[in-house]
């Protein structure tokens, strides 16, 4: 004879017990006896006694902000690199990145034989074509590289000839077609979006420089070491287009580093995808 679970009988017992509890509670309330648990109307729990119950509210408010600061510091210390934020980050005021014309500092005159203003680069800004010789060869990746004859008027368009540096506008917007042209001419591109977005898809050969992540400086150094762009050489920058300001923030940063020919692909990566252009994935160019 085995055990048989009778759910109905158990439910009846529970109901009976609850009804008894309820009637006892009513009776005790009317009799003024000690309070018992009323399962339908539970009493509002009392506030847990605090260690600093007697402390004044301003002190407690200060304790909240101190705890928040401590938690923020700890969490940021342990965060993954793409989730880390520098406490003293580089964030220019919005007004300085709104209008590209404001970005242009007094550029050195093209005839002046002074060295580059930025101490980072050794290439002087007066150099008409700062990129070394292989630029014409980059023009047609599928074909054999043409013979570099700089003085020939019929030579193929280069990145520097198509996007010459202009002292009037060191940062300028380029259209979708110009961006593709720059891509074909192997103009180096910088992707200002977050590193997670970059890993999902980016322009082939583009370098990730997320302006809001803590390792922006390191990424820019890596970019300069690998791509070795001249200060006057064109550099493409893009983010998500539309209202995205990250490209302009990054352009501002590059202007501070001495670069003087920055092209902002204003429609950004969504337009690149919409046009069905080649993409690459992963964390590296």
């Amino acid at each position: 004879m085995g055990f048989r679970w009778d759910g109905l009988a158990v439910a009846r017992v529970v109901e009976k017990r609850l009804l008894a509890l309820q009637s006892r509670s009513r009776g005790s309330r009317s009799a003024g006896g000690p309070p018992v648990l009323d399962w339908r109307h539970p009493p509002i729990p009392k506030v847990v006694p605090l260690p600093l119950k007697s402390a004044a509210d301003p002190l407690k408010a200060l304790a909240f902000i101190a705890a928040a600061l401590a938690c923020g510091a700890l969490a940021n210390g342990w965060a993954a690199p793409d989730r880390k934020l520098a406490w003293r980050g580089w964030t220019p005021s919005p007004e300085t990145v709104q209008a590209p014309a404001i970005l242009a500092p007094p550029a050195p005159a093209p005839e002046a034989p002074v060295p580059a203003p930025g101490p980072v680069k050794a290439v002087p800004p007066t150099r008409p074509r700062p990129e070394p010789g292989p630029i014409p060869a980059r023009n047609s990746p599928g074909q054999p590289p043409p013979v570099p004859v700089p003085s020939q008027p019929s030579r193929p368009a280069t990145a520097s000839s198509l996007f010459p540096p202009s002292p009037a506008s060191v940062v300028r917007d380029i259209s979708s077609g110009e961006a593709y042209q720059a891509f074909q001419l192997k103009v180096p591109f910088l992707d200002a979006r977050r590193s997670s977005d970059f890993a999902e898809g980016h322009i082939p050969g583009a370098w990730n420089a997320p302006v809001w992540e803590a390792d922006l400086e390191r990424r820019l150094i890596e970019f300069e070491a690998a791509a070795n762009p001249g200060l006057q050489a064109p550099i493409g920058i893009y983010c998500t287009g539309g209202g995205c300001e990250d490209s302009r923030l990054l352009a501002r940063k590059l202007v501070d580093l001495g670069y003087r020919n920055l092209l902002i692909y204003r429609d950004g990566f969504p337009d690149w995808v919409a046009k069905g252009r080649p993409q690459a994935t992963g964390a590296h160019p």
Binding site: I44, P45, V47, V48, L50, D57, P58, K60, A61, A63, F64, I65, A67, A68, L69, C71, G72, A73, A75, N76, A79, D82, R83, K84, L85, A86, W87, R88, G89, T91, P92, S93, P94, R194, P210, W212, E213, A214, T240, G242, G243, C244, E245, D246, P270
Partner: protein
């Protein structure tokens, strides 16, 4: 009579739980992604540049701690004061940007920028202002109910 109903403990406990839960829910995505929240703050174009990063690292934790305190009934008055202050700041930021017709992503419950039109963003900002006003009323109720009576 009305005043007694307004500061009734039954109402206060529920206001604490609702307000606390909203702030905990709002804090978690920001804690998970401080760079995204910093960008959201910067997009408002109100905070001075030196304040953007410290605010992005501290504010979400302040929201979380105050939200938890409200839910658990600990240091209720101080937590409600902070929450109400934060709500006033959010309201001012949203209203100023709405007034100057500058659409921003709220950054209230998510930090990723969304691809939406300016009109959609402005409409969302109006709803966010209404929501913050409602939450501010809850904060005011808690502050009113937990007000200490002056000692005779």
């Amino acid at each position: 009579m009305t005043r007694g109903w307004l500061i009734h403990p039954w109402l206060t406990v529920r206001a604490q739980i609702v307000l606390g839960a909203v702030f905990v829910a709002a804090a978690l995505p920001k804690i998970a992604d401080p760079p995204g929240f910093a960008e959201a703050i910067w997009n408002y174009q109100l905070a001075p540049p030196w304040l953007v990063h410290p605010a992005a690292l501290t504010l979400p934790w302040l929201e979380l701690l105050c939200g938890l305190a409200l839910c658990l009934g600990l240091w209720t008055r101080a937590a409600a004061a902070w929450v109400s202050t934060l709500l006033l700041v959010f309201l001012a930021a949203l209203s100023l940007n709405l007034a100057r017709h500058h659409p921003v992503d709220c950054g209230c419950f998510q930090t990723q920028a969304t691809a939406r039109s300016a009109d959609d963003r402005l409409a969302d900002m109006r709803w966010a202002i209404l929501r913050d006003l409602g939450l501010l009323i809850l904060g005011g109720q808690i502050l009113l109910a937990t007000r200490r009576k002056p000692q005779p």
